[in-house]
């Protein structure tokens, strides 16, 4: 991949640069150190600077003549001077010490100019202009070269001593560079990492980056665009499907009205034989089932694709359950079903928020299941209890129970409910979940539990 190669190349170049930098720094440090020590050592022996500093005090007046001062003697010794002389403005020797014969002469301006550059007839000399005249200090011929050798050795030992210090400095420098580069790398990667995190959460991202990360980031942006496009596509398809289901269920309603209407009037038509009336009644019953099914289908598809607006309101769970149960008891003509209610007294004062008409539908679906699957009759227990910040509605019957495959389907263990239809149960679960609750079938296959949050 191009982006990665680029990062690899950059990495190599950076490493090389660091290497060179360290090299340069070390070299400079070494040179600086060596030079500094050379200069410093020279001050005590032959250094020009030292000479300049003491030049004014080397000689002192002795009547008309001059003589070496105490400092002068010290200088001469420490500097290992071969000779000293003081020249007047005219180039005549005013004072001399230990002067070689060949140098005893009057110096012209050109002579002075020439020896001031270090050598006077091969004697290395230092020159300084004092108040009294030009002071010239000379050393033994060839001494400077020999002398340098000596000091190099000294420097070497000093350098040897300094090696651990150097290493320490190198380490420090290394760490500093590493820290700096690491931080820079971290900071340049931070948006990329955040971007990936956003991607996993399904958000659209658009990152900007320069340099090595540019290609990588561009790929990420591309991925995000692709994901967004796919999401829109899926959304569009989901919407189309929901609209289609809603359209179909809408269109079925009118013909179904006609079927139900006529079936109902046939059922109550006294002029028909009883058998025909019964059959018309069956048509009506089945039409009502179709009605319920298309309503459930429509609602379940809307809930699946988040197209059902929830109209949440505050309600009292206890009153909610009593109301549902009462409407069942009021409508139920048959004695073979027994509804047994128990409400936790601690639940009485609680309030909750949710879409009451949907929740009613969920509970009704469960009760309807118990009733319709147990035509021989059964007892149904409804227990409502408070569980800290939630309340639980438990619906249990002693009928035939819930088929195992339905249990596995609702618990999400399989995607295939088998041959039985589970719309009512599935819808109940969707409603409870959409109101922030939990829905489960207990393993005894006779009990369904739903838990919903309490709002106070």
């Amino acid at each position: 991949m191009k982006g990665l190669l680029k990062i690899y190349r950059n990495y190599m170049v950076t490493a090389l640069l660091i290497f060179l930098l360290i090299l340069v720094v070390n070299f400079t440090a070494f040179m600086g150190y060596a030079f500094y020590h050379l200069e410093k050592d020279g001050e005590y022996s032959a250094g020009k600077i030292f000479f300049r500093n003491v030049a004014d005090e080397i000689l002192e007046r002795d009547g008309d003549a001059w003589k070496l001062s105490a400092q002068g003697v010290q200088f001469v010794e420490s500097n290992q001077s071969r000779f000293l002389m003081l020249l007047s403005e005219e180039g005549e020797i005013l004072y001399s010490w230990n002067l070689p014969k060949e140098l005893a002469k009057t110096y012209s301006l050109s002579d002075v100019a020439s020896f001031s550059r270090w050598y006077l007839m091969d004697y290395p000399v230092y020159v300084w202009s004092t108040e009294d005249g030009l002071l010239v200090a000379g050393k033994e011929k060839g001494s400077v070269a020999r002398y340098n050798m000596v000091y190099s050795m000294q420097d070497l030992t000093t350098l040897m001593n300094a090696i651990p210090l150097f290493l320490l400095w190198n380490l420090f420098l290394f760490l500093l560079i590493l820290l700096f580069l690491g931080r820079r790398f971290y900071r340049s990667l931070l948006p990329v990492s955040n971007g990936i995190e956003d991607l996993t959460r399904g958000k659209a991202i658009h990152l900007n980056a320069k340099g090595a990360l540019k290609d990588l980031v561009e790929k990420l942006n591309q991925t995000s665009r692709l994901l967004q496009k796919q999401r829109k596509e899926i959304e569009r398809r989901d919407n189309a499907r929901t609209e289609w289901i809603s359209g179909v269920s809408h269109d079925i309603r009118t013909p179904l009205s006609v079927i139900m209407g006529y079936a109902d009037s046939l059922e109550s038509d006294e002029s028909l034989p009883a058998e025909s009336q019964r059959q018309a009644g069956m048509i009506k019953e089945q039409s009502l089932k179709i009605k319920k099914l298309i309503e459930d289908l429509n609602l379940t598809s809307r809930l699946t694709y988040q197209m059902q607006p929830l109209r949440k309101q505050t309600y009292r769970p206890s009153a909610f359950i009593r109301k549902i149960l009462t409407s069942y008891l009021n409508q139920m003509e048959e004695e073979k079903y027994q509804l047994l209610l128990e409400i936790d007294p601690r639940l009485e004062s609680c309030q909750a928020r949710g879409d009451v008409s949907l929740l009613e539908r969920a509970v009704e679906n469960l009760l309807n299941n118990s009733i319709s699957h147990n035509p021989q009759g059964c007892r149904i227990w409804i227990n409502a209890t408070r569980k800290e910040e939630r309340f639980q509605i438990q619906i249990r019957d002693d009928g035939v129970g819930i088929p195992g495959e339905v249990y596995r389907f609702i618990q999400g263990e399989t995607n295939d409910p088998g041959k039985v239809h589970v719309m009512g149960l599935h819808l109940a679960k969707q409603i409870v979940v959409s109101c922030g609750g939990n829905f489960r079938i207990c393993p005894d296959l006779h009990t369904i539990e739903m838990e919903l949050p309490i709002s106070d």
Binding site: G261, Y262, K323, L341, S349
Partner: protein
Amino acid sequence: MKDLYESRILLVDDQPELCRMVMEILKKAGYKNTRCVYNLKEARNILNTALPDLWLLDVNLPDGDGFTFLQELRAVSGCPVLFLSARDQDADRLLGLGLGADDYITKPFLPRELVLRVANVLKRTYQPFVQKEEQTKIHLGEKTVDFAGGTVEQAGKETALTAKELLILQKLADNRGNIVTFDALCETLWGDNYYGYENTLMVHIRRLREKIEENPSSPRYLLTVRGLGYKLAK
């Protein structure tokens, strides 16, 4: 209008089969003056000529929607409107009712439901002009409760009922034979924030029993349904 069954009912729906069926249902139920139109254009013509006593309006029509038409209608007349629609979303129902419809029936419906709702709307709207026929008395065995006078009468002896007792009894009588929950009763008596009044309700019920039951400790009419509420037996 002498009789509610004389009411002129107009159905606006684009499905001829449904129109025919609805008219048959209404005719069977005794409503003689029903007719139908299949689109809004015809409906508007009627709006400009003779207004019916009740509109049965579909929402999805070939040349517009019933909601818009209702607004036009409401601009000229306050006569009752009942939606008969295949749209069953809460939002649609609320929109229809919010626009001033008197009821909203979703298709498919049972004929009896339609007839009952039509009768209710007509009664609500036109009853005062026809006749006042409110149930002001109920009989509980030997005793008679007179809601207008707020009394219980037995063999010429009258016992007065308190306002709360009267409300409870009225609510139960309205749903006679059916269970009415504590919650519904308390709400009737004390409004929305009725929590905590359950015990007070029990006290009222006990006093009520003393007045209307032969034997208050084993009531014959005002029955307790354990855990749910009360019921006024038929």
